[in-house]
């Protein structure tokens, strides 16, 4: 009994001071267009078979109009919709939120995030997809290590600017 307790305590003490963490910088570029709407953006983690394993963020119009909230346009995030969105019951706590303005948005997520909590250590791909009303659509992918140290970035050419990622265990 005493020994068991010691092992359990030892296990607790062995936990790192910082939990696994992922930091993302996502730039929504300034666009010179006649009719500007903020883009819908989905950020998720996929495995080798392109299965969506964790939704990190989904930004869409939350304000209700005569057609309801902006969920009508979520399928425009085509890959996210097919991989995950269409089976998801939005809104999702800690994942869905309102659209963001032009600028660089930083997301710092650790393994307390509801979707990352259950994601085992390993190699994954971060996917950022943006679609804009009367605009275009763009999708970027960055490979990374979860519960490990990695760094990566990608640059969009239309709907997304610089996207950079840093992880540590």
């Amino acid at each position: 009994m005493r020994m068991k307790l010691t092992i359990a305590l030892g296990g607790l003490l062995a936990l790192p001071a910082h939990s696994a963490e992922i930091q993302l910088d996502v730039e929504i570029p300034q666009l010179n267009v006649a009719e500007y709407h903020r883009p819908y953006v989905a950020i998720w983690v996929e495995g080798a078979d392109q299965k969506a394993l964790a939704n990190l963020a989904v930004w869409y119009q939350q304000k209700a109009t005569s057609e309801g909230a902006g969920t009508k346009w979520l399928p425009d995030l085509r890959q996210w919709w097919r991989r995950s969105g269409r089976t998801l019951d939005v809104p999702v706590d800690g994942v869905t939120g309102p659209t963001r303005p032009v600028g660089t948005h930083t997301l710092k997520l650790d393994d307390n995030h509801p979707e990352l909590k259950r994601l085992p250590a390993g190699d994954y791909t971060l996917v950022v997809e943006a679609a804009r009303e009367v605009g275009g659509r763009e999708l970027l992918k960055i490979p990374f290590k979860w519960r490990g140290a990695s760094q990566g970035n990608a640059r969009g050419s239309s709907e997304l600017g610089e996207v950079s990622l840093k992880t540590r265990s």
């Binding site: 057609e67 309801g68 909230a69 969920t71 009508k72 346009w73 979520l74 399928p75 085509r78 890959q79 919709w81 097919r82 969105g85 269409r86 089976t87 659509r137 999708l139």
Partner: protein, 272 residues
């Protein structure tokens, strides 16, 4: 009465070309405004026409009398705001349920031709009107049975398969890849069946829409394998028209010697 087979084939070809409403001569289709939907209150509007160009209205409207809409739970639901104009029919559909809807115009009937006072006569009708409208002792009387299905698919939220169940009549397509999960550059698989049995050797033609804006049909020609299956890798996104036709002697009406079967689907392929 048995006509030599070469003559029969020649006759069938002539008839097919001469029939203005035949799916053999022109392209019949249902085109939904959108196939992948979500939101609080999704609706689609659908165009139905028979045309030369895909998907433009330049020949005749497709009649909606035999339209059947199957909801994700398998029940039949009604269309809304139907109208038929000079070149097209339109209707709306409210997608109340979550899942996949199948929209199908299922035509079955009889086609007859004969000679009267040296003039060729043509007739279209049903088993019920055959006895009263067609003279039994007509010269060169030929009756054939036609069965055709023109369909498309629309999904609200996550796709499901209940509405895709087969009826076992005529040519049907059993999707092995969901028809609302088609992406450019990816292969999709389907199985074609005749009367519920896998149909080997069926010739399929697939044409992407907007043919008016290019100089070739760019059709994809495929043939089903021994299991009735075929696979297509979509070259680019767009609304595609798929057709297959065949004929056999398995008529359910004793007067008819021949059965003509056709199948058309409109499928939307999305960009990667």
């Amino acid at each position: 009465m048995k006509t030599p087979s070469i003559l029969a084939a020649a006759l069938a070809t002539t008839l097919a070309v001469a029939m203005p409403f035949s799916a053999f001569a022109h392209k019949a289709w249902l085109q939904p405004s959108q196939t992948v939907l979500a939101g609080n209150d999704p609706w689609i509007t659908v165009d139905a026409a028979v045309s030369n160009d895909l998907f433009h209205f330049n020949h005749v409207p497709l009649r909606l009398d035999n339209l059947v809409i199957t909801a994700p739970d398998g029940s039949n639901v009604a269309l809304q705001n139907p109208a038929t104009g000079k070149y097209r029919s339109v209707f709306d559909l409210q997608l109340v349920q979550q899942g996949t809807y199948r929209l199908a115009v299922v035509n079955s009937g009889l086609f007859g031709s004969w000679e009267e006072n040296g003039q060729p006569k043509r007739w279209r009708g049903s088993v019920d009107t055959l006895a009263t409208e067609v003279p039994k002792d007509a010269k060169n009387l030929r009756i054939s049975q036609t069965m055709g299905r023109i369909e498309t698919f629309v999904t609200n939220g996550a796709p499901n398969d209940t509405a895709l169940e087969l009826s076992g009549e005529g040519i049907e397509m059993q999707p092995l890849t969901h028809p609302n999960d088609l992406f450019a550059g990816e292969a999709a698989k389907f199985r074609l069946l005749i009367d519920g049995q896998p149909a080997a050797g069926l010739e399929i033609e697939i044409v992407r829409g907007s043919t008016r804006y290019r100089n070739a049909q760019d059709e994809i020609k495929l043939v089903t394998d021994a299991g009735g299956e075929f696979s297509v890798t979509w070259p680019e996104p767009g609304m595609y028209w798929l057709e297959t036709t065949t004929q056999d002697g398995k008529t359910s009406v004793p007067q008819a010697e021949q059965r003509r079967l056709s199948y058309v689907a409109t499928l939307e392929v999305l960009p990667q």
